[in-house]
């Protein structure tokens, strides 16, 4: 455990990533406390104001305060990313365990379904699904989960196949343990490390996908802000109000970068075999 902590702290970028994630989480979760305005507040006398003292990040085409909306949007984007990751990770672990442990026909079936989901071009199909479910918070989470479990499932299946063939599992079974006990006591704990790493990286991926879907108008719907939908009209205002494009996108970038660095650091800390 001590060694684990040391390996992680050696990774300065990962530490930075972890710190930034915590700051972002704290900042957006307390959006209602620190935001200078209300996010749905329309101020028609102050449209397209560049950053100034009263509006630190400027205002948009409806006079919304951009800083306020960036903070609230962060809350939505982070919640969507985290919830989608937790659900799709659990689904991936279950599918991977079933396929790897029971093998045979079930394994074949589950892995062919996984192949199909992996072979589908993700962004466009997410657009279609978001459209059929009707845009909104719940459907974006469903979309992200439906196309987010395959990596974890394959990973867990591989790990289970590797562990299952080891002597201690055989011994446990010979001593009369049930399948459930082997899975709960031996397989899950032993696959945990790579799953945690994959999940951390998946948070960034989920936030990227959410922002892309919302950017094309099929995700979170205004007036509720998300970083993606704040950028929806930013392209036409690039000439007159470039700050509208700058800040929300930068938030997505920093958040995803933070989770990616954190995941990479965790990989090195949890699995020294993988270290380059």
């Amino acid at each position: 455990m001590h060694d684990l902590g040391r390996r992680f702290t050696r990774h300065r970028l990962a530490i930075a990533g972890g710190l930034v994630s915590v700051v972002l989480l704290a900042g957006s979760m307390s959006a209602s406390l620190i935001a200078p305005y209300r996010f749905e507040e329309i101020d028609l006398k102050n449209l397209f104001k560049p950053p100034s003292r009263s509006h630190v990040l400027g205002t948009d085409e409806l006079g919304h305060d951009v800083l306020t909306r960036v903070l609230y949007a962060g809350r939505i984007s982070l919640i969507v990313g985290l919830v989608a990751t937790v659900i799709s990770t659990v689904a991936g672990v279950v599918i991977g365990l079933l396929a790897g442990y029971y093998g045979g026909l079930l394994d074949d079936l589950l892995m062919r379904v996984t192949d199909v989901f992996i072979s589908v071009p993700p962004i466009a199909v997410m657009f279609i699904l978001a459209k059929s479910l009707g845009p909104g918070l719940r459907s974006i989470v469903v979309v992200l989960c439906l196309f987010g479990w395959m990596g974890t499932a394959r990973l867990v299946r591989g790990e289970v196949l590797r562990i299952k063939s080891q002597d201690f599992v055989e011994a446990t079974l010979a001593l009369g343990s049930s399948d459930g006990r082997v899975i709960a006591r031996h397989l899950i704990p032993n696959t945990l490390a790579p799953v945690i790493v994959a999940a951390t990286l998946a948070v960034g991926q989920a936030i990227l996908s959410e922002s892309t879907i919302s950017y094309f108008g099929l995700g979170i719907q205004p007036p509720v802000p998300s970083w993606g939908n704040m950028l929806q009209n930013a392209q036409e205002y690039l000439w007159t109000a470039p700050w509208l494009a700058l800040y929300p996108g930068f938030c997505i970038f920093v958040t995803v970068l933070a989770f990616n660095l954190l995941g990479d650091g965790l990989r090195d800390a949890l699995d020294p075999k993988l270290k380059q």
Binding site: S119, V120, P122, V125, V256, L257, L261, Q276
Partner: protein, 321 residues
């Protein structure tokens, strides 16, 4: 080898059928079918007209029947008719596919030219400042939202510096010949840089780790012990072996380039199949969306297969049965 390829190609068929079924069901359950799209602009349509039209297009049948009919037509080479553009889908896709291939092709060339030298240098100077910066660069590449990177590039090069066009593929009225070619290339620069970003990051990362793995091998130590120059060791002994997984990764990044095409092409109004796909999904022209999606899926599977085959050809230790 021939039997291996044949088996893999045969395995692709059920996979493609599975993908098409999944996409078809998703599209069929999306609100706003093609008839709704047609009547939106025509207020004089009655309910019985709608029912007749839906019957005419077969939209009143169960999904699985419609899927079977779609599959039958597609296998005969009939991709259908685009209701939004009022042309055959095959012609629409045929017009736009070369544009996408040009964009993706330029993207992959950029990725190779940047990523492979950067990855090799990083590996040879592991833990140097340059290596550190390159690693950070790959993380940046993985973390930037593609559409936002596009917006930033447009802002810098089109809005601020005014040196490149903000989108589109050709200026109206460019003089044919050299000026038109130059104009086309100027339009190509920004979108191809944007589409190359993710692949460049992925490729640089794999090149570095592949190279690092190889330079720890015994035969590199042997080469060094023989007194060969570092340049010859790196270029001749290490790189040739490191290239095997790199070529594979190269084939595997092609799908991500095509997967990224819808977003990049939409941001830059580049008239390729990606932009066509996004527009078709947004307006409900599902016949076109289906055709383009299946084309991209087939390309992805083909490149996966190509990766495996090339791997076997390059690495004599691998034998396919």
């Amino acid at each position: 080898m021939r039997r291996y390829v044949l088996r893999r190609v045969l395995q692709m068929i059920p996979l493609l059928v599975g993908v098409s079924l999944l996409v078809f069901v998703l599209l069929a359950s999306a609100p706003g079918d093609p008839v709704d799209m047609l009547i939106r602009s025509n207020p004089s349509v009655t309910m019985s007209d709608i029912a007749r039209l839906k019957h005419l297009y077969g939209l009143d049948q169960p999904i699985i029947v419609r899927y079977a009919k779609w599959l039958g037509r597609t296998l005969q080479g009939d991709l259908g008719w685009s209701l939004a553009h009022q042309v055959p889908v095959a012609r629409l896709v045929g017009e736009r596919l070369p544009n996408s291939l040009m964009l993706v092709g330029t993207g992959i060339v950029i990725a190779i030219l940047v990523a492979i030298p950067a990855g090799i240098y990083s590996a040879l100077r592991q833990y140097s400042v340059a290596d550190y910066l390159a690693s950070l660069g790959t993380f940046v590449g993985f973390s930037i939202p593609v559409f936002w990177f596009g917006l930033i590039m447009i802002y810098i090069f089109a809005v601020k510096l005014r040196v490149l066009p903000p989108g589109g593929m050709r200026e109206a009225g460019a003089v044919p010949g050299w000026p038109a070619t130059l104009d086309y290339l100027r339009h190509l620069i920004l979108p191809s840089l944007v589409i190359a970003l993710y692949s460049t990051a992925a490729l640089a990362r794999y090149t570095r780790s592949s190279m690092l793995e190889v330079i720890r091998q015994d035969y590199i130590r042997t080469a060094r012990a023989k007194g060969l120059s570092e340049l010859r060791i790196a270029g001749h002994h290490a790189l040739r072996n490191a290239m095997i997984p790199i070529v594979t990764v190269l084939a595997l990044t092609m799908p991500s380039l095509f997967g990224g095409a819808p977003v990049t092409e939409s941001v830059f109004a580049w008239p390729g199949i990606g932009q066509l796909l996004v527009q078709s999904v947004l307006v409900g022209d599902y016949v076109v969306a289906m055709a383009v999606l299946m084309m991209i899926a087939a390309l992805v599977l083909a490149f996966n297969l190509a990766a495996d085959i090339v791997y076997g050809l390059l690495d004599p230790r691998i034998r396919y049965a």
